[in-house]
Symmetry: C2
Subunit: 316 residues, 2 copies
């Protein structure tokens, strides 16, 4: 069980290595929403995403002997960069298992931090085999992208900062993929600002969390098709349990709603964010009657985009 003290200690440990990201507001989006929105900008975070919080906390939890053997994970997204950056910063090696069809922009980002990339066939079994092999050969510590208390505790530090910066929030909104950020956020709110409610947004085209949230079992998405490519992962038993205990509700949004929210953030806020980021904003705007007049914190999770994708997102 992750405690209040765990989150406070994690924050103290990772602070020297991360940015205290700013909270932005935008009057025209507020007008549109009929609410006061506070955006916690983790797109400005080190490595361009909140994932460094969990990755760094897990890495700093190791003994010097463990750390010396290196860090390992499987991810083609921001968690891979987080582990690569943590390893570089702490002077050890990182082994990142990535599917052989990963976009070169993502492989380059990880290579740029000096990590070793191990390619595998693009399926779950190959990924786990490749990871196990690396761990067996090197003794490196496996840090799962979200099914890990050290990672969840690190992610919880983000809402802790938001709560300290903006007193009196009624609602906190995050996206949900594997549930590391959502469960960490839910625990952070539980300990540091328990009067607020926590909601999540999820793409219709990756709708596993809402099903799991309703049924109480880890479910798969009925189909997978979304530009919010940071949210393709599935909850674990660990994240589901925390989410069921501490999250009020999860909303689905369509691809069109995601694109409209993305456009809003680019045009009005003038910041670069990933599509996964705007899923909570899209969910809030879709259900705005429910949130009228509320003071709402939204975590903008990251800004690592392949600029070539702009052509597809903003073609109209």
């Amino acid at each position: 069980m992750i405690t209040r003290d765990d989150i406070e200690k994690a924050h103290g440990k990772i602070k020297p290595f991360i940015h205290h990201t700013p909270v932005l507001t935008n009057s025209s989006i507020n007008e549109m929403a009929g609410a006061e929105l506070y955006f916690k900008c983790e797109n400005f975070q080190k490595i361009g995403a909140f994932k460094i919080r969990g990755g760094m906390n897990a890495s700093l939890s190791l003994t010097p002997e463990q750390l010396a053997k290196g860090l390992a994970t499987h991810s083609s997204g921001n968690h891979a960069q987080a582990i690569a950056f943590a390893a570089k910063t702490l002077g050890t090696k990182a082994y990142i298992v990535m599917p052989s069809n990963s976009p070169s922009v993502k492989v380059n980002a990880v290579n740029g931090y000096g990590a070793e990339v191990i390619f595998c066939e693009p399926n779950q079994a190959a990924r786990e085999t490749a990871l196990q092999k690396v761990v067996d050969e090197t003794g490196a510590e496996f840090i799962h992208p979200y099914d890990d208390d050290r990672v969840i505790t690190g992610q919880a530090t983000c809402v802790k900062e938001l709560i300290a910066t903006v007193p009196g929030l009624d609602i906190i909104f995050t996206p949900v993929g594997g549930g590391g950020l959502l469960s960490g956020t839910a625990l952070g709110v539980h300990y540091f600002h328990p009067t607020a409610k926590v909601f999540a947004g999820e793409p219709e085209g990756a709708a596993d969390a809402i099903l799991s949230f309703r049924s109480g079992r880890v479910e798969k998405a009925p189909y997978v098709n979304t530009i919010a490519d940071g949210l393709l992962t599935t909850l674990s038993e660990r994240t589901l349990l925390i989410i069921r205990n501490h999250v009020t509700d999860i909303f689905l949004v369509s691809e069109e709603e995601i694109k409209a929210a993305l456009r809003l953030v680019y045009e009005r806020m003038k910041i670069v964010v990933e599509p996964s980021c705007v899923v909570p904003l899209a969910a809030m705007l879709k259900n705005k009657e429910q949130f009228k007049g509320k003071k709402i914190g939204i975590i903008l999770t990251g800004g690592n985009v392949d600029l070539k994708k702009f052509a597809e997102w903003f073609k109209d």
Copy 2:
């Protein structure tokens, strides 16, 4: 002659109507540049560009009788939005002369502030005729985009803020189009931080200012072809005189250099800026030996982009 006191008074007058924009830094761009760069983010300014400073200062210089008759200008860019916003904020009318081939996104932005758009043929003579007609009919005050001391004085408040936020700058860099921002910046540096030198960047495909700067006469660009569409205008006698007196040098950059700098700002800083914005950064990077180890302020002028253009800018 614009005085130190003029700039201070202008700043006091416009402050309630504008944002005090943040200054951002980026460690990987600093590493690349071999210098310390401080970006004054006017893309986060009201109307998404610094132009509100000059537009608002000019509007606030009017008597109540003058103001009641309305504001007029010709522009299809950020100055049009600045005048439209100033009129709306101060409770008067704005008349904006725009070429009939203006992109609808720009027309809509001006309409969105409640201004009246008067279309004209896309040439200089038609524009001036249409403007004169509006002024004659309505008695509205013409506020030129840059050939106006009230506008230049307003633009000077931007570097005044930058100097106050970041002490000890060695260099200040801006783009140059008609020279309103550059001449205002040069005067601001002259009065508030005279040990710093002022440089400007200009696109090769709109290279009038560098020729005028060298010859001492207002020159035309040899050819016009650039994605930096905020820099197509030509210096006036007024702005040239100030620039010749107070600017150290102007550098040209190619379209490829502009696109590379644009990509850098999107990918590393995670902010949305116009191509015109990054011309100083491109110029600094191109001449980085000259600026090694210096503390450099760069004004990022605006973030009003048509998202459809991303496909063209970031296609590779």
